[in-house]
Amino acid sequence: MINRDNIVIRTDQLTKSFGDFTAVDHISFSVEKGEIFGFLGANGAGKTTAMRMLCGLSKPTSGEGFVAGYNIRTQARQIRKNIGYMSQKFSLYEDLKVWENIRLFGGIYGLKEDAIREKTEVLLDKLGMTQQRERLVKTLPLGWKQKLAFSVAIFHEPKIVFLDEPTGGVDPTARREFWEMIYDTADKGITVFVTTHYMDEAEYCDRVSIMVDGRIDALDTPRRLKQTFKAESMDSVFTALAETSTRQSE
């Protein structure tokens, strides 16, 4: 099923321990180019730690990992050039204007002023936010902030974008619109690595992995996971797996 040449994330027995506590326990998986990969797990299951290792923010205790073809141990800087990141806080500067935020992140990724200006117009037009370019981000509604944060995360056209619970606190309409943006992004060949705790969103992913106690206990398409666990919905699949947890949730 997986085309080996197209793999953008690959981990092999990736492990992270803090003293006696093994937060991430020998996980191995691969993600293909253009895939929407759902990374699920209860709080404390280790998904944030795993994601931090993939982003080069944290060094693995053992095991290997490759993101965009670079080793997460030794080539964190190259990885950072090739990924985008958006956290649940939407991570924009509230006291900067819409266009200033875009310019800043363009500048961080080394884009030239002219290119930034051009792309900003295209982006604002696509988001329908041309009127809002001079507004301070803190005055924007949550749904718009979220869309803007996502657009900023993929502004530099990364190979992979990591989304850490990107739809927290947003209403269902905005969430649906957001997932449309995710589909568009994946169609352009950008891999989307997304954590979420909304199980209906898990259904939208191409493939889903479910972490329990630092291990990946299930990894497949939502349809096949439901077949395997003989469940009606992803919610039931998740509940069935989460019950096997022996770790205290945070």
């Binding site: 956290s87 924009l92 500048g107």
Partner: protein, 397 residues
């Protein structure tokens, strides 16, 4: 480099957009200098006095004119009875009364001594002491003048004025003793304070230290922690920007503001308070820059230790501001502290900075006299920068 430039630009945006904070940062030194320089001056002006002159002769009227001409006194009323004095004190209308005894002039001519009583309001001991001191100096001036005249012309009678304070004021001010032919003056109270507003001299270096610390340490630590709180730091760390340049770009706007403040303070000191820069201006700026680096690195260190802006503010407040004000010599001289506090003050960067500025700016001494301070500040900068970089890197692992 382009990344760095967009960062610095962003930091300036943050500061310029927060107009209120910017205004506070730029106006604060002006207000502090003026407050410390004038309001919290240790000099007392306009001491309100009343005079009870039972003698009404040419010597007392001369002395009263001296009081009226003195800038520290304002003669509110000439009274005629003890009852009136009590009334004025009770109504809080005066700070001191000068009572000349009967036959003041005649006593001087005949006995060589006369007495004057200074009654001061002891409920404000500071003012009382000052008032008595200033008054004594007027009498002393008079005695000196007579003594000089006496040496030149024997026709002037020998005399002395003896003044005592009442039990309310509680201090004996001047005793003058005469022996035949000469006048000996023994002042029993020294002038504790400098009447020429020289107090401002000591406050200027202190305010410089305080402001630079406030901006560099407190504002920098808050600015860095704010990014952590808002989650934007994470996004920056995931970007290809080097962590070090994130931190450095955050400090640059505060560096600029610090220099603006430094210049403001020096200009105010020179042109408003009349405190000259006696020593080398370039060394003064060099030492200030060094202190700014110490404070900035301290702010960076604090930002790696705390998680919230409130904690950053409290920590820099407790770690820097309080000792900076109390133990740096700004308020109380370090030499007069108990040994344990003197020991603690060794670790207060502001103490060394203030001391160095006093040496260079006020005393006008060469840099050699501030070498110890410079070395200590250099060592502190090295320690803080190393520690904060180490902490910052560890946090990433």
């Amino acid at each position: 480099m382009r990344q760095f430039a967009s960062f610095v630009r962003k930091e300036f945006c943050h500061i310029l957009r927060d107009k209120r904070t910017l205004l506070i940062l730029l106006v604060m030194p002006v207000i502090q200098i003026i407050l410390f320089g004038f309001a919290i001056s240790t000099d007392i002006r306009n001491i309100k006095i009343a005079i009870l002159d039972s003698s009404q002769d040419n010597v007392t009227s001369y002395l009263i004119r001296q009081f009226e001409a003195n800038k520290y006194f304002s003669v509110e009323k000439l009274v005629t009875s003890q009852r009136e004095i009590d009334e004025l004190f009770r109504q809080n209308k005066i700070d001191m009364v000068v009572v000349f005894e009967n036959n003041f002039s005649r006593n001087i001519v005949h006995d060589g001594k006369a007495s004057v009583q200074l009654i001061a309001d002891g409920s404000n001991p500071n003012t009382a002491t000052m008032a008595v001191n200033y008054a004594s100096s007027i009498f002393m001036d008079y005695q000196l003048k007579i003594a000089q005249n006496m040496n030149g012309a024997a026709s002037v009678s020998q005399f002395a004025a003896e003044s005592t304070t009442s039990d309310i004021g509680g201090t004996t001010s001047v005793a003058a003793v005469t022996s035949s032919g000469t006048v000996t003056i023994i002042p029993t109270v020294k002038m504790l304070y400098n009447p020429q507003m020289k107090a401002a001299y000591n406050f200027v270096p202190g305010v410089m230290g305080l402001i630079l610390m406030l901006i560099c340490t407190m504002m920098t630590s808050i600015a860095i922690v704010r990014e952590k709180e808002h989650g934007t730091m994470e996004v920056l760390l995931v970007s290809p920007v080097k962590p070090l340049s994130i931190i450095i770009s955050k400090t640059i706007p505060y560096l600029v503001i610090s220099f603006i403040n430094l210049i403001t303070i020096i200009l105010l000191a020179v042109f408003v308070l009349g405190v000259p820069v006696s020593g080398s201006m370039s060394w003064l700026l060099a030492i200030s820059t060094l202190f700014i680096f110490v404070s900035l690195s301290m702010g960076m260190l604090i930002s790696t230790l705390v998680k919230t802006q409130a904690a950053a503010m409290l920590t820099s407040g407790l770690v820097m501001m309080m000792p900076g004000m109390l133990l740096s010599g700004l308020m109380f001289p370090v030499e007069n502290m108990p040994w344990i506090l003197q020991f603690v003050s060794i670790f207060v960067p502001a103490r060394w900075y203030i001391s160095a500025v006093k040496t260079i700016m006020i005393e006008g001494s060469g840099i050699a006299f501030a070498a110890k301070e410079v070395y200590i500040l250099l060592a502190m900068a090295a320690v803080f920068i190393t520690a904060s970089l180490k902490r910052f890197k560890n946090r990433l692992e």
